[in-house]
Amino acid sequence: MKSYALFQKDFHSELRTRYAINSLAMFIIVAISVILFSIGNENISPGLTGGLFWVVIFFSAMSGLSRAFVSEEERGTSLTLQLIASPATVFTGKLLFNMILVFLMNIIITLLYSMLFAEFIIQNYLLFFLTFIFGNIGIAISSTLIAAIIAKAGSKGTLYPVLSFPILLPLILTSVQLTSFSIDGIPISEAVFELAIVVCYDIIMISASYMLFDFIWKD
């Protein structure tokens, strides 16, 4: 329950400052309009829209999600947090918060994307939905862990995407493939392997984060 209290604290302070929400919203709008302008009247293939979709998701995640731990460090409250709660509790609270942010962000991206791009037509909704859920969980877990790592470093802004890229790469690659499958309307029975890879990634990342977070947090 302590982790829920921590989540509530983060949620309220976010509603007050709106730092993460603003930076996510600005990034989504800028990225999607740049893609929209650069495409112009050209016809792009549906497979390409699936790839661009994940590019927008990756970089928006990079712009907003590092706040979870950076804000604690900036306000100097991380030591207090270490005193009152165990590392696992802190991680659960922050993970909940980032999970909400990722889902919110990606629902907005998906809505905007399907409105603005005529080529982005999903034929297998269930497959896309599953990809979306598992992909988002994976992004939230990895980004929370990396946010904790970089919170104490000097140049946070550049270090975050650089560290995230190799860790998120397997997830992004498989998700791009799954998205193009769902655009092509391939049945789920043929995409089982790819879906299983994403689920495996989520399980690996969540168990690794709970193990490694103790060491990150105590230093």
């Binding site: 392997f193 890879i197 399980i203």
Partner: protein
């Protein structure tokens, strides 16, 4: 406390192996036996050569490109590709088509042509002085 690391480590290791195994499985497989290509209901990369006796056909209305391919045992298969004729198609030594066999012909999504090497060994006249 120590149990947590052992247990977590086992989970990570097991799923990592599972993930690597799945990664090797999920890639599209090459197939050079057309009997197997026709039997399968999966996307494969069929390799073979173009049957030059049966000429290719370009349909401008449907924007399709149709030709016949033969595998190493001589089994022929009709291939339909949505698009134009690829570069160097006529000089290709072998052709790799990615797609699925349906309704009596192969629906190709992608065609790769393998061109004869420029650097093949040639019979050079020995220039003895």
């Amino acid at each position: 406390m120590k149990n947590k690391y052992i247990f977590g480590g086992i989970i990570v290791a097991v799923f990592l192996f599972l993930m690597i195994y799945l990664l090797t499985q999920s890639n599209i497989q090459y197939e050079n036996d057309f009997a197997k290509v026709m039997a399968k209901d999966k996307t494969v990369k069929a390799t073979g050569s173009w049957v030059k006796e049966k000429s290719y056909e370009l349909n401008k209305e449907n924007k399709t490109f149709t030709f016949y391919m033969a595998d190493h045992s001589g089994k022929e298969m009709k291939v339909v590709y949505h698009g134009t004729i690829p570069n160097n198609f006529e000089s290709a030594v072998s052709v790799v088509v990615t797609g699925k066999y349906q309704n009596g012909y192969f629906h190709a999504k992608d065609i790769l042509t393998k061109c004869p090497s420029k650097y093949e060994e040639q019979n050079v006249k020995s220039s003895s002085m």
